[in-house]
Amino acid sequence: MKSCKTIALRLLLCASVSFPAGFAGAAASGTASLAEPPGTGGPPMLRRLTEAQYRATIADVFGPDIPVTARFERALRSEGLVAVGTSEAGLSAFALEQYDTAAGAIAAAVLAPERRERFVPCDSPPVQHFDPDCAAAFIERHGTRLFRRALEAEEATAWLDVARAAHTRLGDFYAALEFTLVGMLVAPDFLLRVEAVATTPAADGSPRLDAYSRATRLSYFLTGSAPDAGLLAAAGRGALDSPDGLAREVDRLMAGPRYEAAVREFFTDMLRFDLFDDLAKDPVIYPAFNSTVAADAQEQTLRTITGHLLAGEGDYRDLFTTRAAPLTRSLGIVYRQPVAVRNGWQEGEFSERSGRVGIQSHLSFLALHSHPGRSSPTLRGKAIREVFLCQHMPDPPVDVDFTGINDDTNAARPTARDRLQAHATETQCKACHVLMDPAGLALEYYDGLGAFRTRENGAEIDVSGALDAKSFAAASGLGTALAEHSQTTSCLVRRMYSFATGRRELPGERAYLEYLDATFAAAGYRVPALMRAIALSDAFYRIAPETNDEVATGHDVPAAGES
């Protein structure tokens, strides 16, 4: 049985890549070529399935009616993405316990009498009799989907031995299969995306991922789930080796129903929606906040994004200036807009009165980057720079005095701007606050939940702000500044590539990322075009030679055209 024991988890220790303010992306400079430059690639990765990927995989393999009952461990965010954290986090005892619980429930549901016919590929063998052919077929069928590759002969035999031993102990064929399935569901091969290097290098001699690892990387990137039977088959016959064969699969996956889910998963990660699990608001100050509002706020932003980028084939930059406002009645209370639709979503636009434009004016951003009882220009400004511009803002010094900024009842400093003014004059605070606060202050018309206001503690709110060299008078100006900022699109490119590979970009990949910048620009900043370019690029599957030590070799398949 193949195990991950032989595969080293590579912790990437490359120098941090930063994007100082004023950095001009390749797209803006116009120097990049649309031909993919030769690249170095990166290491093969060992990535833990995210909760979303786990659930999607189980639903795809066994059907959406199979319950996944477990509390998943909190995700680790690294380099701005949980997707990167999945290659850096370990598995705690709690996580294994929960995986075991989930596996037990899934296996019980799959082997329940009413579903056996669906999942056991043979005619109702007697319970007391162990049918090795039937068990082998069951293992082959589901093991291939769960492990996202063909099972090796000795591996399949090992699982069959498990099933036989279980039957000996349990005396029930289906119980034995259930026991075996539990084992497969807690195996590293399922819980971890184990990437292997092909024994046969690419045409240019460089190492690359093996076919099934490529299929898996591609599938989770473009569908958020495990490879389907068609993709596994394509990998098995070497179809992914040829540009045409790869393009066929990429286009098929992007045209499929799960592509939107992958886009949603990316933006859920980039926008840090996992933090909603911990979001709390003071019910006295924000009585309209509840779990429904929190869920709908995330969905509102994701619907806006997918509606604009996919259905509307829109320019990514316009997400910061769009007034599109899908609303539910729960959200309508906070946005103070009517929602005629009773149980569902109503498409519409934010009122001009509210001044809202862009996803940065959504509750999902405003509430998430605020305090439980008040707004925070600093947290919002920090998030604007970190989430949308990929800039890193350091944590505050440990000895900083927050007394003044926290006292929002001080009549002499009625607005957040007043309080921050006093705060930001302190030398130890100023350096960072001048970067964060001006952008966040433009969003001060929205309280700690995101509801519109024009006054704070009776005083008129000043919503003038600035982002780097651009000053503006209100939230709409911030949207325009973000849309026009040179790092906005290059940040998305880097986030998308990191999301796809599960690691930060490497110094040797600068030319490749500039190529992606240029491709993104040439496509009018259409996100599907960017994702397609990544999926079709050699660099996406290439393994850096220096990282090709101590890793498992993969599963060779016939070269394209040989099958």
Binding site: P283, P287, G332, I333
Partner: protein, 416 residues
């Protein structure tokens, strides 16, 4: 009778609105329209009888022997040595079984004159409410019967509130009583009341605004602390009988409407009923936050009031069918036992104190002045065609005026 403001709060609100009248329309008014959901509603009453001395003849009492509620008493009387609980169980078993025994709560007109029901007889007891006489012309009510008006609790006089006169000496309507907390069902989402204003030019002074008073088709939206939330969206009840439209004017921040027949829903023991208020006038203040506060006052037919509050004779189930007799009868009789009154006593007192709608034949009035203290908060009110009263939803193919074209403001009186 003079028409004066009834509370200090009204006067203060007037001053504040007059001050802000020069400002642009507030957030709760959009395109000259505003919507509201009633967040609080209760009967306009007075201080407890113990405080204001309204009941020198004492308080109302109920049946001394619970079997008295049944017309045919044979075999139902309290037996010697029978415990009260046992008696009650036996009563309900027999009275509401397969062959129900006629009871006075479903048939109050069969009762003998009752001397246990007490009404307010003290003079000059200050009450909540407004003076309806100058607001509701006799042509609408068919005339009035002689009655003594009350002084207002915060000054003023001429308050028409015969509901209080009837029930001011009943324990159930004292501050700790159970019958004036019927809004609990509203807060659980069983029913709701919406108000719309259209054609607002100036929230402090406006000669004419269109006013709608509707039952809500949606449950009220509450905070985790169960406080109604402003700016939620509610649809108007699709049944025309729950849609009242009239005109009003705003003077110094006080909105007063022309009379209109209003009908809202309510629920008791899962029995659904209409709560009608005829010739109703809405007189409220509007503060800067869009909070509406004041009175919804009018007249209730005695038969209607008795039915929805005491007899449940025409209550329906969720499908609109007449609710099971056992449920209606049991609820009516049980309520009289629990709250301590006689059904025939209520019925007789209601007619004895009715002050409007005289019977052309007998001259006996058939309607009782009834006032509710109401508060409402901003809301988005949409028609069944999914339109809003607070926003320009032309794109949705709906024009606000259509709601008022559907029914003329005159709201002609129906034959009773």
């Amino acid at each position: 009778m003079p028409h004066k403001f009834q509370s200090l709060r009204l006067a203060l609100a007037t001053l504040s609105l007059a001050a802000c009248g020069a400002l642009a329309q507030p957030e709760w008014v959009q395109d000259g329209s505003a919507g509201f959901v009633v967040s609080s509603i209760r009967y306009a009453l007075a201080e407890d009888a113990e405080e204001n001395g309204a009941c020198p003849e004492g308080m109302t009492t109920g049946y001394a022997d619970r079997s008295e509620v049944f017309v045919d008493l044979e075999g139902l009387e309290l037996r010697e040595g029978e415990a009260e609980e046992q008696h009650l169980k036996r009563l309900f078993g027999v009275a509401f079984g397969d062959k129900p025994v006629t009871n006075l709560c479903l048939n109050p007109e069969l009762g003998a004159p009752d001397d246990r029901f007490r009404t307010v007889t003290a003079q000059g007891v200050p009450v909540e409410g407004i003076d309806l006489d100058p607001l509701v012309p006799k042509s609408r009510t068919g005339g009035y019967c002689a009655h003594e008006d009350f002084p207002g609790m915060q000054g003023g006089s001429g308050i028409d509130n015969q509901f209080y006169r009837v029930f001011g000496c009943s324990a159930q309507y004292q501050s700790t009583g159970l019958s004036n907390s019927f809004e609990i069902e509203m807060l659980t989402g069983s029913w709701g009341v919406l108000v719309t204003l259209d054609g607002i030019d100036d929230i402090a002074n406006d000669d004419e605004v269109a006013v709608g008073i509707f039952a809500s088709a949606d449950p009220i939206q509450l905070s985790p602390a169960r406080e109604p939330l402003p700016y939620a969206t509610y649809a108007i009840h699709p049944e025309p009988r729950f849609q009242a439209r009239t005109r009003g004017r705003i003077v110094d921040g006080v909105l007063t409407t022309e009379p209109v027949d209003v009908r809202i829903e309510w629920v008791v023991n899962s029995i659904r009923q209409d709560r009608p208020l005829d010739d109703a006038v809405l007189q409220v203040t509007l503060d800067e936050e869009g909070v509406m506060d004041g009175y919804l006052a009018g007249f209730t037919q005695v038969e209607d009031l008795y039915n929805y509050s005491f007899g449940f004779r025409n209550g329906t189930d969720g499908t609109g069918e007449l609710a099971p007799l056992r449920l209606r009868s049991g609820s009516a009789v049980g309520k009289s036992f629990v709250l301590g009154y006689t059904c025939e006593g209520v019925y007789q007192a209601l007619y004895a104190n009715a002050d409007a709608d005289p019977d052309p034949q007998t001259g006996r009035c058939r309607a009782l002045s009834t006032q509710y203290r109401v508060a409402a908060i901003p809301a988005f009110v949409v028609a069944e065609a999914t339109a809003s009263s607070n926003a320009n939803l032309d794109a949705a193919g709906y024009r606000r005026e259509e709601m008022y074209e559907a029914a003329p403001p005159e709201n002609k009186k129906e034959e009773r």
